[in-house]
Symmetry: C2
Subunit: 427 residues, 2 copies
Amino acid sequence: MLNVDISNIWCSVALPDFLAQEQEVSAAHAALMDGNGADFLAWLDEEDGGTLDRLEEAAARIRDEAELLVVVGGDSAALGAQALLELLRGRIHQLRPGLKVVFTGGDLSTQAWRRLSAQLDTKDFCVHAIGRDALPLQSAVTLRSLRWALQRRYGNEKARERLFLTTDASKGALRQLALQTGCASFPLPRTLAGHASALAPAALLSLIAARVDVRALLAGAAEARRAFEIRSFENPAWLYAAARNVLARRGRRVEYLSAAEPDAWSLCRWWQRLFGERACVDGQGLIPAAAEIPADFQQLHGLLCDGKQPILQTILRFAPPAQHQSVEMDLGNYDGLNCLNGFTLDYLQEQTVAGAVQAGVDGGVPLLTVDCGPLNARTAGELLYFFELTSSLCAGMLGREPYADGQPAAFAAAAAGFLGLDGEKPR
Amino acid sequence: MLNVDISNIWCSVALPDFLAQEQEVSAAHAALMDGNGADFLAWLDEEDGGTLDRLEEAAARIRDEAELLVVVGGDSAALGAQALLELLRGRIHQLRPGLKVVFTGGDLSTQAWRRLSAQLDTKDFCVHAIGRDALPLQSAVTLRSLRWALQRRYGNEKARERLFLTTDASKGALRQLALQTGCASFPLPRTLAGHASALAPAALLSLIAARVDVRALLAGAAEARRAFEIRSFENPAWLYAAARNVLARRGRRVEYLSAAEPDAWSLCRWWQRLFGERACVDGQGLIPAAAEIPADFQQLHGLLCDGKQPILQTILRFAPPAQHQSVEMDLGNYDGLNCLNGFTLDYLQEQTVAGAVQAGVDGGVPLLTVDCGPLNARTAGELLYFFELTSSLCAGMLGREPYADGQPAAFAAAAAGFLGLDGEKPR
């Protein structure tokens, strides 16, 4: 089970100050689980074999009929699906044989649409749209273009069979579309938290189509849900939320999350969006940013080593895989690294992370470590649940609703004003 | 030519304070161009048709013999190549027919190596390694694995023909390797700035292989070099560097760079690394972070709209393409957006950016806009030169050497200590 190490934060915060967070975390946790948010990801515990069976059927159909699956979605659920796919199939998943998956719907770029469109002209494709009841403008416009591309290519009837929707069970634009066209649709859990969650089964169609073991992923998330229910500082979620919160109050402004796994990069991005949306408002909360280890060492060096920037460093660690890979011999020894012969990659990686930790500690920068266990579908489920829970706890500790859904987006409103949409906002 | 709009910073800084930066920018500029750094990217002006011709030959050979080009490099030059490829060929470049390009060498992950290795077993491949005189541990180890994969697959002789090196003309590990094996090698410009530059032609082999018009790119950079030579506030580079600097001194801690082009995401990442490495040390300078517009609106909303977080927002704008794309009609009007019929995507994008600007202004958050012109190879060259120059100017204004090369990396040193490499550091 995932674990959090807070032993390197004491340079910036005293133990009593940390412990004083207990009441706040406790209240935030209670509000999530017992209060209005009583439903917080509760659906993870429910058997929902029916939906998963239907998703697996749909995924099989997609694999049969398409070379390319285009996922449209502008919010964190869609980004979460992308993060999971890269984590579990690699950043280079598009190079693998079989179905390719691309993610779109977060932009209004003509250039990006042209580039995608050129691919649609040469490959058989299906479309999966993910949206809560309200669809952001950019996703709605992209979906219009994609539906048109489907209809032009396959005709009305066949286009319908290539369109898959994940949305609210009863209302909103995509539900409307499902009713109008009769295309396949999968309901999001009925709760606000379920709407925003990257763990909603219906949002994971692309992962199932790419043969990720989504049942193991959901089992991991459900197990994490039970494990992180403990209401004390034995709970890693409490440790993380309390540490972030108290460090922010002690003057830290930015949290840099980094992982030594390059395939976790989109996960860090998802984390950045999640914590930026939920736990960083009214001038409170840590501003999230992401980096890669060791690729960004030089950058982190400047930021961390002298301890003068108001930063918290958080590192995601994964356990070494069962099978090792050794540093290759080189007879010419042109790089002078034959001294590493016999070492394994994971040992070097571990030592590099230890070096990063030590450098931060020496510089007097507080540091959190999240130990995720081995990288697989089960632990990925745990990790996503962990961040969904902790971001909501942090939001609660800032006195906010635990999830951002329904919050009036001043940006979108301003844009709508510019577009003359004031009176008639996208549903 | 690229332009910088500073009209939205006056909420946080007074004009005289801004103008007082003149001397510092001027001194930093002089130090770069006339002092020790007299060579700062001067090679951009030199005719180097010879190297480009050789690179084009090599690229043609790669296209003939390989389906996959693996680029190894752990520093900002390699990340710059990736950023340019995504900007000019799309994030989804791996879906395009023809040669695929992957970037590696920034990690020590067993998992990521396995995933890449599985692709190497099924595709004909070539390897392009980019490194200054000193090669980071992770790049060296990855290159060892890749060379071994080449030899196992093609035999010693043929493996040599599939290996391409870009490195210092006379010293360092990769130069040693070129001498030992006799494989094709291309020199980096002899200067420190040339070593660190993403615009060194020899670092752009992968772009040439992917049929990007690198001559236009370099012409754009060379033109920018001439244009940004002006020593006054008519120079956009001066505006950007001075604005960043004065805002940091007025208490801003973080700069969020965002673009409305999803294909510019890796460029923002490259920018983050560049400014993190060069212009953020000793507790001075802005901490860089990146976001996407409009996908990250919700996140930016929390960060910016109330004006309480110490943030500077910078937006990259590209001019609309010559050919327009309209919002598609939908008879059912399920999303209520038929009011947008007749609008073009780029108009919507422009209004969305305007909305983001207005929301930031309303929130009292200072904002810079970098207008890049239309997105093509020429303007991409301009933009990269702009950021290489401004990051060096900002470094100079903090009293630092203009580029990070040769700086002892405490992290790497700490890791080397853990590895028992103290006495025998990788050359």
